[in-house]
Symmetry: C2
């Protein structure tokens, strides 16, 4: 006989307010780039730390494709630490003793914010593929409504890696007066052809799975697990660098003395990828994956500003810190440098740091001391200018 | 009424002998690395040019994953030129007025050589997944039997790109006395973790397709088209470089004034990839794809020679020319340089050229003047030493 199991208690991060949801766009719907209107809709978010009296210490952390609002503490679904637990917390670069840190699930996501998985109030059924195709600008528009709701006129900082960097750039371009500082990390001003190509492979893998059911799998009690896992596997390779895969796995075999002359996961790297694929599909929604990758593909700040990226930032008073990683081949330094060039062209206050790392695109999620020091230093300096008290 | 259609006449390359097949391993079966024996088996091959009297002018061209024996002339299935038509022909680097050029479909292939698609004589049914898992060394062992059959004691040269380079290296290591010269192009002495990872994604995409039927799709009149197309799409991205995709497609839309806010192929790069995927599955066999990618994954000349690559080439008298391309991130220069280092360590006759190109791994298939000049120069020099008459 085993002892009765204790109820699962989430390990909260200090100052964390858990499971917050708000209905937005009730008075006036959100006008989407596709021309449709959305409202009311739900935004799920988490906050860490305390908003100061003049509401000047808020940092919005925008998440990447597979991220969510759980920045630190224990994730309620995976039971693992939030995706930025190395950066958010007391004494960490996003110091929750000093800053009020907000994580919000993006529009189109699947962790509580309205997205294809949620019920369409008009039909009483899940949106599925009837959900409107959204853009990075739509995500940011929804976040702006959240800040209005929280009474925050100006963010101290908006930051994020990858798709989070796209949102940070969109914030700085669309609402410059509401952004004191911005730190786009491992991002780009527009999604490259190669990145669109990888996303298209992922989408085709999902849509090729008969259990996708033309997007209607929820109603039919299915989930396109196999195709979705393939999509995640393909994506996952691109988040790492070749050298990192070599260092981590090389050609090491998975618990066997020699190859089996078969199609099992002989190599550790195969086993690892299969695990990544199958774990991801249990926590993420396949249609959300379609919608969010599409939003990234559509992101093109250059085109939005008439072909001249600098125009996106004309007259900006925001302080920028652009960060890239040497081994990131998905959002390489060259793409980040293009952002810096545009900011320089309008004499913006910008610093640019390329971090030496062999960990690829995912470096922004990992323990990279130089990266942590860079972001901490930027935030400290900006906080001094903003007059945010030290803890 | 339309005029009666003329019978399709293939555009033969000069000196081409078309549609040759030979039964090999009848007397003594081929002993495979997996421990099984195979024989008799069929080898399908093409020859171009004329074998000279002392049989000293034969060049074996080893094909890559998706290639075959049709090096030039019109491909009988696709109707397009053979994959190396820029290199093989009168006056071209592999000058068919001077050399006798052999292209052979690899063991496990699907263009006539015995592979999973062919009928297992023991059962009267297609091999499918009962086909033994083969290795690059098995492919080369089968090619050796072909050369025995042709009465060619020593190849003037063995060459090929990608998996073709693996075969060329294996030839030089396993049968040094039968290789006067070797030109491995865009290759590696062992498949990297990243490459294994991409192959695994492709295999999982195929196996996830219900029409794969556990490999038995032929008997059931099916083909895992959708999953296989996804595999090809993922592979195809890796054959190109990011800059090449940017130059070729960028973010250009496919015959439309703006994005459609949907999941159609809005971008040219998506449309291109979808086409690549769907065209490939019509001419290639999905199980062959599984087996050939597995053979590449298993390739590890370093391990075969006790962890020291140089031992693979000890005492070699073969002349080597190793070629890489700057933008090839799948088989990067570093992997090719490792081969050169090993050859240098045994004082082999080796030249190494890194070709400046932004076309990625596929550069060896494309019009790259410096590459053509390099290979032509190497072959000319070696032919002089070998005493092969000029045309």
């Amino acid at each position: 006989m085993s002892a009765p199991q204790a109820p699962k208690v989430l390990n909260r991060a200090p100052g964390e307010r858990h499971g917050q949801r708000v209905q937005l766009g009730a008075d006036e719907p959100l006008r989407l780039d596709c021309g449709m209107e959305l409202g009311p809709f739900t935004m799920a978010y988490q906050t860490y730390g305390t908003l100061n009296a003049d509401k000047s210490n808020a940092i919005l952390v925008c998440h990447a494709l597979s991220g969510d609002q759980y920045l630190t503490g224990t994730h309620p679904v995976t039971g693992k630490p939030g995706w930025w637990h190395l950066m958010v917390g007391p004494g960490l670069p996003l110091d929750t003793d000093r800053y009020f840190v907000i994580g919000a699930n993006v529009l189109g996501g699947c962790m509580g914010t309205t997205g294809p998985k949620e019920t369409n109030p008009a039909t009483g059924k899940p949106y599925g593929m009837s959900f409107p195709v959204i853009t990075i600008r739509d995500m940011v528009g929804a976040q702006k409504l959240l800040l209005d709701h929280l009474g925050i006129d100006q963010l101290f900082c908006v930051t994020g890696g990858s798709m989070g960097a796209m949102q940070a750039l969109q914030w700085a371009a669309s609402y410059p007066e509401r952004v004191f500082a911005a730190a786009p990390i491992a991002g780009a001003a527009r999604h490259t052809a190669q990145n669109i190509a990888f996303h298209e492979v992922g989408r085709q893998a999902i849509m090729a799975d008969p259990d996708w059911c033309d997007g209607d799998y929820q109603s039919q009690g299915k989930h396109p697990r196999r195709g979705f896992a393939v999509a995640r596997m393909a994506g996952h390779i691109t988040y790492l660098s070749g050298p990192a895969l070599h260092r981590k796995f090389g050609r090491t075999l998975q618990n066997r003395p020699g190859v089996t002359y078969g199609f099992d996961a002989d190599f550790q790297v195969e086993s690892y990828l299969r695990y990544q694929g199958s774990a991801f599909v249990e926590r993420f929604d396949a249609n959300s994956y379609l919608y969010i990758t599409r939003a990234m593909d559509y992101f093109d700040l250059v085109e939005e500003y008439g072909g001249v990226l600098a125009r996106a930032f004309e007259g900006t008073e925001t302080r920028f810190c652009v960060i890239s990683f040497t081994s990131d081949w998905l959002f390489p330094t060259s793409e980040n440098r293009a952002i810096v060039h545009a900011l320089n062209a309008v004499a913006a206050n910008v610093s640019f740091v390329e971090i030496e790392s062999d960990k690829g695109h995912d470096a922004f999620l990992l323990d990279e001391p130089e990266f942590r020091a860079t972001l901490a230093g930027f935030l400290n300096g900006a906080a001094e200018h903003r007059g945010i008290k030290r803890p």
